[in-house]
Symmetry: C2
Subunit: 210 residues, 2 copies
């Protein structure tokens, strides 16, 4: 198909497609003339992939290029996932070195034996440690059993996330599903948690309104 | 204590304390003169509570006032929690009526028997339904087992959240811990989920780098 048809098929404007071509996010089409090229279904697919990473994943152009380069180099799935998931940063909060060290020690104790990687330069670990440090600095209650339940729930969800994508077969689909699933999954989980809390609160504390 | 000492104790500037007094977020002190009043520990406590709801919970002044009014009216804990948790809104995404109706039907099937309340005017339900509709509109894989695991994990977490606060005894502490725990807990969970995903991905897909 020509560029105009590729745009219609994918819903991505021609100017944007040209930008992605220049930025190396989309492979060049098959040359058919001085100013013409032919594109295939793999280009439609790749455009959807790029849009998912940019729009839903919130990745930068440079980060998407990194993921694409890893994909095109036939890097093993786990490593491409490392690149894309590593770009999905979470907010970290201010905390003193001491509070962060204590929080990290606490997490290490609770996840002991699970074989999880807890390097502090990993954004997810930094976000976790600073969140827990914030809770403690505020004098909020943080019981061991509470964190243990979170760790158990996270392990369960991660298995479900990988189950959901593992059988997709090709790395591009797996990465797309993982990125979108991780970002949208955060909201799915947060909203289910609130719905469940409301139910448990009614059971524990009863309600005047019934 | 005088206003200046209340400010030092709580770390809240005098001008802000006066603003909270005018807005009804803080009860008046005991009058000791024309322009003087005495404040107690309950004022320090209340200031921490207000700051937690505003800064961590992201509630508006009007929403904090609603929570405080419910507290002061000795409304049952479950109902005060309903007011405060209801103010912790999640983002909803655009989705067609049909996609949302299908997503709601899917959730209803998966949570059947749990007794969870799924009213669509509840923000958490709207966020859940629009997120699932987005996943499906993008053609992403959404297996029943995947959502079932999320629902199971959310139920587990909600129990842990309520266990963590239930024994605090007074409604103000419970509400403060629940609001902060819900907001910060979202990040705790999201970061643990990424750490666990990395571990499961290494198990499933192996890694060139080890």
């Amino acid at each position: 198909m020509r560029m105009a048809e590729l745009s219609r098929e994918s819903g991505v404007p021609v100017a944007t497609i040209k930008f992605y071509l220049r930025e190396g996010l989309l492979p060049a089409g098959e040359r058919t003339g001085r100013n013409q090229a032919r594109y295939g279904d793999e280009h439609v697919r790749r455009l959807q992939f790029v849009r998912a990473l940019l729009d839903i994943g919130g990745l930068s152009i440079a980060q998407v290029r990194q993921v694409i380069e890893a994909l095109d180099a036939e890097t093993p799935t786990h490593d491409v996932l490392g690149v894309s998931q590593g770009a999905l940063t979470l907010p970290t909060t201010e905390a003193s070195d001491e509070d962060r060290a204590n929080a990290l020690k606490w997490v290490e104790e609770v996840v002991a034996g699970r074989g999880w990687d807890l390097e502090e330069d990993d954004n997810a670990v930094a976000a976790l440690v600073s969140s827990l440090a914030t809770l403690r600095a505020l004098g909020l209650r943080t019981q061991n059993e509470w964190l243990e339940s979170y760790v158990g729930a996270a392990a369960m969800i991660a298995e479900a996330d990988l189950d959901n994508v593992a059988s997709l077969g090709n790395t591009e689909s797996i990465v797309e599903n993982a990125v979108v699933g991780t970002v949208v999954g955060d909201t799915v989980l947060a909203s289910l948690r609130r719905i469940a809390q409301k139910h448990v609160s009614a059971q524990r504390f009863g309600s005047a309104s019934g």
